[in-house]
Symmetry: C2
Subunit: 236 residues, 2 copies
């Protein structure tokens, strides 16, 4: 019997935007391309092909672990990109996922693989206008992204900005216990604008049900901030 699988199908891949917020900026993991030079691009999002009878989520988990050694990370689907010609190897449809975690976790994962770099993501448009994003190295020089990955990173920033106010996604960038200033730093990095402190505090305490732990930050000079955590029912 003839099956749809006997016809030439495009291949399906999963690409990951592995993210954290560090030093006041949104950062993403990019990977040096092995077969570079075919196009101009030298850097790309880490990814892998979806195997027959493997789920998209399994593929995300596999790619994430293969590249960074990390497990048990929050991820969610961004969008799917399928324009022919976007990959010079052939027709590849990429389902892109965001993987979000605290900076201290991701920095360890990136250190384990010399092909990976954790770069600053910068956009030239305000708010949720949309457009491409650039990946900047530590000196501020832009790294050229392969395929349509600059567009994908732009869509990623737009999505994060849109969800930040109405969902608890910002907390995925933080460890289980965090100060309110930490949350504000995450929001400011993603929105690329400074926010007024008291207004932000109140909005936060209203919208997401945070629980004050009573425990305070330690080690720093000056007055220590209180540590908060998400109350159980809000943790998705």
């Amino acid at each position: 019997m003839t099956s749809i699988f006997d016809y030439p199908n495009p291949a399906t891949a999963v690409d990951l935007a592995i993210l954290c917020v560090h030093d006041g900026a949104l950062r993403c993991v990019i990977m040096r391309r092995e077969d570079g030079g075919v196009m101009g691009g030298d850097w790309a999002l880490p990814g892998g092909f979806v195997h027959r009878d493997g789920s998209l989520e399994e593929t995300v988990t596999r790619v994430l672990h293969d590249k960074t050694g990390l497990r048990d990370v929050h991820f969610e689907q961004l969008a799917t990109y399928g324009t022919p010609g976007r990959d010079p190897r052939g027709h590849v449809i990429s389902v892109v996922y965001l993987a979000i975690m605290p900076a201290e976790v991701l920095i360890k994962g990136v250190a384990a693989n010399p092909d990976l770099r954790l770069v600053r993501i910068k956009v030239d448009w305000p708010g949720e206008t949309g457009g491409v994003a650039r990946a900047l190295d530590d000196t501020g020089a832009p790294l050229h992204m392969a395929f349509d990955h600059a567009d994908i990173l732009g869509d990623m920033v737009k999505r994060l900005r849109g969800k930040l106010d109405y969902t608890p996604i910002g907390f995925e960038f933080l460890p289980p216990r965090f100060t309110l200033r930490d949350v504000q730093a995450v929001h400011e990095a993603i929105l690329d604008q400074s926010l007024t402190k008291p207004a932000f505090r109140r909005k936060l305490l209203d919208r997401h049900t945070l629980r004050a732990t009573g425990v305070r930050e330690s080690g720093g000079a000056y007055r220590p901030a209180e540590l908060y955590e998400l109350s159980q029912d809000q943790e998705e």
Copy 2:
């Protein structure tokens, strides 16, 4: 040379949620399944496979035209579903798109194909909580959806509700000229709750730059409402 295309890939399909608002309810096109009986489901979203070197957008246009005869319709990506076992024919990854148009346009398209029905979509959860949706026929009886299509319809409602306030997506359900009451009817149908008229007017005239045409509704009894249109710069 060995290529990734020599390995068994899952097939990629595009499924469409073809939508309008009519008679105070959000409605979607569903299709009688040819090979029904394999699972319990008899109705599904119309779809088609993505051909090698064909783009996702081309596939959307093709499926839409093949099933309804319609062209030049607004569409946008919802999400991608790839759990193995969701389709009994084999491992199929579906990229789902929303296609949105005025009711009078869609009703004509559905009439052209006896396998299609335009059914009311109903959810049991408030706001943007999320969950499954049900498809109801004209008598209010639920029609059983095949595969994971009830989940997809639920995600669709959630997405529409989320975008309604912050994007001009609601206007895609309306012809180029419309009354403010028409816009309110679209919002009420999608949100499944009634809104207060003056507040809704103001929000609309602030957020989206509408232009009053000076022309008035004709034919109806009682005071005719003024017709508005989107001002050029807001039309996406």
